[in-house]
Amino acid sequence: MEFTLNEEQEMLKTMARDFLANECPKTLVRELMEDEVGHSPELWKKMAEVGWLGLVFPEEYGGAGMSFRDLTILCEEMGRAMLPGPFLSTLFLVGLPILSAGTEEQKKEYLPKIANGEMVCTLAALEEDGDLWAQGIQLKAVQRGDDYIIDGTKLFVPDAKAADYILVAARTQRTADPEEGITLFLIDTTEWGIYATLLKTMDETRKQYEVVFNKVAVPARNIIGELNKGWPVIKDVALKTTAALCAEMVGGGEWVLETTINYAKDRIAFGVPIGSFQIIKHKCADMYSALEYARSLMEWAAEAIKEDSPDAPTAVSMAKSYCGDAYRIVTDHGVQIHGGIGFTWDHDMHLYFKRARSSDTAFGDSNYHRELIARQLD
């Protein structure tokens, strides 16, 4: 386990921070919040140019061949900058499963396009019950000749209006074990019969949609992974995306802490900086401590995935549970210490406050992951 960054990683981090400071200022974040699609093709093109969209793909597929840990360094900076748009959706929800479960032909066709920015993607997994579990996947895909006909509704689909392709988790077989009979289809969003409607979310930096598939025909060659064996692929997607979310949460939390510390030093009340009051100091100390331990678990999780360790699911659940709690507490204190200004729409604190909530909910909240850990102690 490496717990300090090597020279290359330090460079990646510095470069990412500078890039996002220039290319993703809060003015752009707020512009995209107002937008129904929430995606900047100009920014996307620049992200492709610096190699981020294919960072972990092997070079033969147009990638940079870097490690999962390197990727989470980027995610930290993205969380810090409150980057909107389909990065997680494209790379984690679709790029990584194609890389791990796709055929050679699929990898050659899609991965270079993802890496060079031509192909924005997302995953449609959740349905009406809102939980990511095998029972929740009920949308049907029925074989007709060489095609499958997809019919039904998906909810909480991120970035659906920006996406050129949607990876859809559908039920192709009904068996006693709900984890059997799920298949992943990669669908071109220009196909006839796909309707995406915005769900107005609290965290407007992450767009989510209801997507209706009205008898959409998909050729069987667009199946990613094996027929009826899609669930393990989704679990792997969830594992890696959850680690990415943890990295984002730590990065975002550190922005909140730094911003709050600066405010506590500058803001004068009763004739002195409010940061000289112990009650403020102690809240800041708690924010720092929460983020330190969140980072330790997050880095463990990232390393465990990178090393393909059997500990990875434990590490990820522990990290997600802890980071979810930590980010919520840190943003609670951030708003509170800012006082009135922290409660305004104009101040950026609420963006982080809301992101903390949406990130906690995504891929299982703190309570859910704690229960997974409890089961290991059974």
């Binding site: 510390i261 002195v272 940061g275 100091k281 401590s289 331990y293 330790s296």
Partner: protein, 408 residues
């Protein structure tokens, strides 16, 4: 991670396991092993013997140069040794204060003769230590020390009182902060001494705490004479030496966590994992209103949280170790580690009381007490853990002011 360990590491692990099997006290880890009365003479002597055994086997004495009796091994080996010891919950012994505070402080501030004279005997268990910092009017405000030291020829004459002294009763040597320049400004008026507890004019008595026992004591100095050469660092620099000592103590997590010491917390956290296991066992073995506690989601969540926090501590320890190896100093971060551990211990104690219900009232020595009353004891004792070595509040001030740069 076990899966990645080389054959060499496995061999060492096996060696340590075999050694422990042969050398641990008879019946260790089973009910037939009877712990000596805590803080008793016997407990103290057994601790010394155990440290000597470990030292002779090359399993302790890490982090010090050979010329001061240190045992030099690669960090990976040290981690394995500590993990194996933590796994069996080996006896810590009353010498941990010497390892935790005296040796590292002497190493960083002592003169050459002091290092050569004192450190080896800490490492091999020959001499035990106590520290005289707190006073009745100098707790969180430690700089308000009133004990005085007045120069008389080649000696200093010490007068005053110390309290909350760990290892007070049998320690062979003591660390002492006393006021040497009555008129100098705060933080520049103290000096730091090493004193022999057999010196005339020194006396001690127990200080009984809310958990019932006298883990701590009070020390009295009545014209106690200490040779000038036993002053550590320069005259008037005692405050800064004391601050180093406190950081060592906090980063080690305190004497009550036993033996791991230093910033390498890997072993320590494994030991906490044993604490998690015991909480799970308690929940599995206890019924409330006819229902097994472990089946109650509220308690499952809380116990799982302890498991998560134990791992968080473990990997934070690994991060600190990695930074130390790169030469990045570890100082004020000790306050983060100390608070986290102490507050976790309090919450764990509280939770145990909720699980135990009516049985939470039965203390050590009572009929029908669960686990010999240890849960109740630990809940009470944990109240001290957020006070000793800097209260949680003082540590939060340190984090806010010295790490985050908030104004004093």
């Amino acid at each position: 991670m076990v899966s990645n360990e080389s054959a060499k590491a496995d061999a060492l692990r096996q060696e340590v396991r075999n050694w422990l099997r042969e050398n641990l006290p008879k019946g260790w880890g089973t009910p037939e092993y009877v712990l000596p009365e805590p803080y008793s003479k016997e407990s103290h002597e057994r601790g010394k013997e155990w440290t000597k055994k470990l030292y002779d086997a090359g399993y302790t004495g890490f982090g010090y140069p050979k010329e001061y009796g240190g045992i030099e091994r690669p960090p990976e080996e040290i981690a394995i040794i500590r993990q194996e010891m933590a796994r069996t919950g080996t006896p810590g012994g009353p010498l941990s204060l010497g390892l935790l505070v005296a040796a590292p402080t002497i190493l960083s501030h002592g003169e050459e003769w002091q290092k050569k004279r004192f450190i080896p005997k800490v490492l091999n268990g020959e001499e035990s230590w106590c520290e005289g910092f707190s006073e009745p009017d100098a707790g969180s405000d430690l700089a308000n020390v009133q004990t005085t030291a007045v120069r008389d020829g080649d000696e200093w004459v010490i007068n005053g009182q110390k309290c909350w002294t760990s290892m007070w009763e049998f320690a062979d040597w003591g660390l002492l902060v006393a006021r040497t320049e009555p008129d100098a400004p705060r933080h520049r008026n103290l000096s730091y001494f090493l004193f022999d507890t057999t010196t005339p004019g020194f006396s001690r008595r127990p200080l009984r705490q809310m958990s019932g026992e006298a883990e701590f004591g009070e020390m009295f100095f009545d014209d106690m004479r200490v040779p000038h050469k036993n002053m550590m660092s320069e005259q008037g620099r005692g405050w800064y030496v004391a601050m180093t000592a406190l950081q060592h103590e906090r980063s080690g997590g305190g004497a009550f966590f036993g033996g791991a010491g230093g910033a390498d917390l890997a072993g320590l956290s494994d030991r906490r994992s044993a604490a998690i296991e015991s909480a799970v066992d308690l929940a599995k073995n206890t019924r409330r209103y006819g229902k097994v506690v472990w089946e109650d989601d509220v308690f499952r969540q809380r116990i799982a949280q302890f498991a998560i926090e134990a791992q968080a501590m473990r990997w934070s320890g690994a991060r600190i170790t990695a930074k130390l190896r790169k030469g990045i100093p570890f100082g004020n971060e000790a306050s983060v580690v100390k608070n986290f551990q102490a507050e976790m211990r309090e919450r764990r104690g509280d939770m145990a009381m909720e699980i135990l219900g009516a049985y939470s009232q039965l203390v050590r020595g009572s009929r029908r007490a669960v686990d010999e009353g240890d849960w109740v004891y630990d809940m009470l004792r944990s109240r001290g853990s957020t006070i000793e070595m800097g209260t949680s509040e003082i540590n939060r001030n340190i984090i806010a002011e010295r790490i985050l740069g908030l104004p004093r």
